[in-house]
Homo-oligomer: 365 residues x 2
């Protein structure tokens, strides 16, 4: 059976002041009326019903996630006591799934991306699951055709197409390729080469595989990690689960699934994503996704603007934001903090969050 | 005896969002720890004690002014039911003063200017009162030596110096001149001529005269107005005072004291102000008066800035304002509204307030 694992550990400091430690990006309504994680669960619809969804997140976010997703059974939520990157997260979820369904296939996905349309996404995941059924050791990834020489994504180089021709979906046709290699986030000139080559994809962070396959790979390459994870899984449901989880998890050396497994795996396939994808990496993505008015402004606030252009304005309905003579800015108001930033400087928002931490301004983090 | 009349009817839309209909500029702490009107009363100190101060303001502001100035007797406050410019305001105050002190001299001043040092101001007012005692029909004005070709002030052209030589004050020496003429706010090229001529002053809006003199002038030039004002003054203290005030005052045709009296008066003197003066006409004045840090920022808020320069940031202590990559801006946060404006566009803040009124956004006005 097909299960979904939603990785919801991100902190999203780039969306400060809307994102905070206890309210990271995946819990925010950045695009549309549902939060990122709600949209991620909604998108699965009947392909993966709530009882086959596993969400792995920080322990401190469990309550709010459950608030947002009351349809999920409590067993769906795994709350990590600290951050240890993606490999332990995926390992824990895989152990949960094999305990429920030893032959289970799992689709792993981030909790904070925008993917449209949902139907094409579900068809693509179902097709990937079929590719895994055909070759149980196989790892299927989704690649996004790059539209510019991005330095902020990992890349996947494709090799030969899989035999059997294109994958025919109702909504589209796409192709699955053998993966030649994974590439880390490149420098600008390398990114340009990738773009020009036409055989490189952005790594979407969406994977489909058998839970038992990824566990076997972790056994082989990360035996210590898997020992800790098994101790945690064995304690699940017991009264000392939290204590065991904390003790064992903190002892794990954090590593990403890419380094731990993907780069060493043998049968890895990349499916060119037949859906639109956006990682919503910064405030400017909101303008890209929501569109802009005639002056190039993207407004989600009670707002009055004069000589205002190319500006993103966000805030609650009960606070008026007035902009005058402002171009290419980001203005975000929250009850306790307001950001006024030049669009071209938005990368430095992370730096600001660090500065606040250094000053001990916990109330704003 | 010397009395002070403080004109506190201004609305100060240029300081939106701090200034509002019920909290105009004179009630704000724009510079230092006291509001503009508190500083205006403080500045008079022992020269004019509270029982000889008259404040004329809008009826809706009486409570808040009394909150801010509890030392004033309630008879000190006159609340106009509507706005009718400065001549009726001064006429009412003059009637109040002649009722108390038929020979009284009154110093009229705005409630929302910055004047430093207070000692020099008091000495100058006392010297002006002496000039009035010497010639009871005389009107004394204070002229500010212009520092640039301002288009936003009225000007006073000086004539011959008064006989008797310079006025010797403890803190400074200054000169009193006959006034040649008053000039309205000029266009840029005319303002430059005034500046170059060296014989023009900015009109500070500070006047010293006998109350009976200004009443006689109003009798002569504005007989209808003075009739209404006398009816109001006669009802003062009676149970139907508010009704009479409303009925009579609304019937007055608004006119400034400059048009009504000054431009026709015979013995008008201008004293070159021996004090620093600022009308605090806009947010940029705050930077001028408060000074700026090494990056040219003037901050009165909980603020974190990165790559921020030449910017004014204002807000309460409990709200964090973060600026990033921002130059020459004005950021003002209040509990229900936030302004983000380019400094070079600040004149348009009035336009924005009009737009809000047109939209019926009463809660922000």
């Amino acid at each position: 059976m097909l299960h979904a694992v939603i990785m919801a550990g991100g902190s999203g400091t780039r969306f400060w002041p809307e994102s905070r430690g206890t309210r990271p990006k995946q819990l925010l309504k950045l695009v549309g009326e549902r939060s990122m994680i709600q949209s991620t669960v909604d998108r699965l619809a009947d392909l993966v019903p709530p009882e086959r969804v596993v969400i792995v997140t920080g322990a401190g976010l469990l309550d709010e996630i459950w608030n947002q997703l009351p349809q999920l059974p409590s067993e769906s939520l795994i709350g990590e006591p600290c951050r240890r990157d993606t490999a332990p997260c995926i390992g824990l979820a895989a152990l949960e799934i094999v305990a429920r369904d030893p032959q289970g296939i799992m689709a792993v996905m981030p909790s904070d991306h925008v993917i449209e349309p949902a139907g094409a996404f579900r068809e693509a995941i179902a097709a990937a699951a079929k590719l895994v059924e055909q070759a149980p050791q196989r790892i299927v990834t989704f690649g996004i055709r790059p539209t510019y020489a991005a330095e902020s994504f990992g890349y996947i180089e494709r090799g030969e197409a899989l035999p059997g021709g294109p994958l025919k979906l109702t909504s589209a046709t796409t192709t699955a390729y053998h993966v030649r290699q994974f590439r880390e986030k490149p420098k600008a000139d390398v990114a340009r080469q990738y773009l020009e080559a036409g055989t490189f994809y952005w790594n979407s962070g969406i994977f489909v595989w058998k839970a038992s396959t990824i566990l076997a790979a972790l056994e082989e390459r990360q035996p210590e990690m898997i020992a800790h994870l098994k101790t945690i899984a064995a304690a699940r449901g017991s009264s000392n689960y939290a204590a065991v989880f904390a003790r064992e998890f903190v002892a794990i050396k954090g590593i990403s699934i890419d380094y731990a497994v993907m780069e060493h795996a043998r049968d890895v396939v990349v499916v060119e994503a037949p859906f639109a994808w956006d990682d919503v990496g910064s405030w400017q993505a909101i303008a890209r996704l929501e569109g802009a008015d005639a002056e190039g402004n993207t407004v989600s606030a009670r707002h009055l603007g004069l000589r205002t252009a190319g500006t993103i304005v966000r805030g609650p309905d009960d606070h008026l934001i007035v902009t005058l003579g402002v171009t290419d800015c980001i203005v975000v108001h929250t009850p306790d903090a307001t950001l006024v930033a030049n669009k071209h400087d938005e990368e430095a928002i992370r730096e600001l969050v660090k500065l606040m931490a250094e000053r001990g301004w916990q109330e704003y983090l």
